[in-house]
Amino acid sequence: MNALGAAAAAAQVALVIAGAPWLAGVMRQVRARLEGRAGAGLAQPWRDLRKLMRKQPTTPVGAGPAFRTAPLLLVATTAVVAALIPLASTATPVSGSADLIVVVALLALGTVALALAGLDTGTAFGGMGASREMTIAALVEPTILMSVFALSIPAGSTNLTTIVSGAAGNPARLASPASLLAAFALAVVTLAETGRLPVDNPSTHLELTMIHEAMILEYSGPDLALVELGAQMRLTVLLGLLASLFAPWGIATTTHLAALLVALVLFATKVTLLAAALAAAEVFWAKVRLFKVPELLAGSFLLALLAVSASFFLTGK
């Protein structure tokens, strides 16, 4: 049990770290093909990381420890989240502590670390990006909590493992209106949290539109590589959370080697499909004006709240 369970958790983390740049490559490639370009190839994000790793890091004058530790914190918190969430297996040694609130708090810690680093450099851009990021984070965190609470009411627990294994055993739960609303709210929040298109444009360096890019302007070399890797891992983990919560089929609930291997392959497939669909949708979207972003997030918060109230009142408990 324990050896294979630990191996499952380790495999989840390894797959997220190794697969996140590939996932970014898939998304860029899908976009490029849909826009009629050839694209740089699936391994381009990996090649970028390798290039950055060989360069020399520079630190701005007067930057303190927040600037230096932020990339490490971002990657570390995301790796811990990847170990906790039942992406491929619910039978891991850490599944008892895979609580929703812990996961959200770890994600928030990564966000705050990066925002502090943006402030730490003392540039105007860093401060602007940090303030925008915190505005969005303050609206995003309650929505993540709310939308998963809608699923935790029928499961009777906020432990993600319990929620996922309960849903896998009783798929009728997932077809309820509450669950659909929660899925939509969580999808909107995932886009906002990872800085994808309707909220932030990941492929520009225009001052007017920058949120995530503004905070990491001062990074270079291996530090920048870590920040990029961290951002890609966050996207992978959040898409994995969506897939595990709303399509929990094939997640290993036992510690058989075969079940675990099938679950890992299925997890990679599910997340790749989700990411490809997201990239295809992004081609047709325009970025929302920054002042309209709170409106979008208020809407998704409302949907999450409706989901919670519906699952609480309509189940007759």
Binding site: A298, F301, L302, L306, L314
Partner: protein, 219 residues
């Protein structure tokens, strides 16, 4: 129809019904608002059909057909004509901005759940448990009516109010007598027709249907 399937279908129809009201607050394009209102009419008719099949109450099917024809067909059609005549396409400046209206809608929904709890305790069943949805739509309709400026969005608010009361009537008593429903529907139709004519006249006189501009009398 089994009880589990009945309550699932009813919850789904009620969910779409409430979601349509929320989307009406969210969207600014008046054409989209009219489309969403038609969708809500379909959801209301679906609630009536589900109740009719579950309780073998076949008069309700006629009422459902009437509701679908009127609220998903005729009223949206009339509103589209009013829109085409007025030449306005967007709700520019609601009195309460959209983010705040969405949060207000959330508060109103929770309030209606709280208020309905004693009613539900009288006779717990899947239909009465969905009662708060109807009340929430009534409250959201009121809110739309008082915070929007364009004549068409105010009409939609008024119609939301009526959709909500009809839904409450269905869920609480499995429908109102056919004759009452007929009377109410004709009243609605007349109200919308009158408003359509008024909109056209306001348009001719002032060049816009911003009702806040109508402050003084002209001969």
């Amino acid at each position: 129809m089994s009880t589990g399937l009945f309550s699932q279908l009813l919850d789904l129809a009620c969910g779409v019904f409430l979601l349509a009201a929320v989307l009406i607050l969210w969207r600014r394009e008046l054409a989209a608002i009219v489309r969403i209102f038609a969708l809500q009419g379909v959801a209301l008719a679906a609630i009536a059909v589900i109740l009719a099949v579950h309780e073998h109450h076949w008069v309700l099917l006629a009422v459902a057909a009437l509701i679908a024809a009127l609220r998903a067909g005729l009223l949206p059609h009339l509103m589209r004509r009013a829109l085409a005549a007025s030449g306005e396409s967007r709700e520019t400046q609601p009195l309460v901005n959209v983010a705040a209206s969405l949060l207000t809608a959330a508060a109103l929904t929770l309030l209606s759940y709280a208020v309905c709890q004693p009613l539900i305790r009288l006779a717990p069943s899947p239909a009465t448990r969905a009662l708060p949805v109807g009340l929430a739509v009534v409250l959201i309709g009121f809110f739309t009516l008082v915070t929007r400026r364009r004549a068409v969005s105010q009409v939609v608010g008024f119609l939301l109010l009526d959709n909500g009361t009809t839904a409450v009537a269905f869920l609480a008593t499995s429908g109102v007598p056919l004759i009452v429903e007929l009377g109410v529907s004709f009243d609605l139709l007349f109200a919308v027709l009158v408003l359509q004519i008024l909109t056209a006249r306001i348009q001719v006189a002032f060049g816009s249907t911003d009702l806040d501009d109508l402050r003084e009398l002209h001969d």
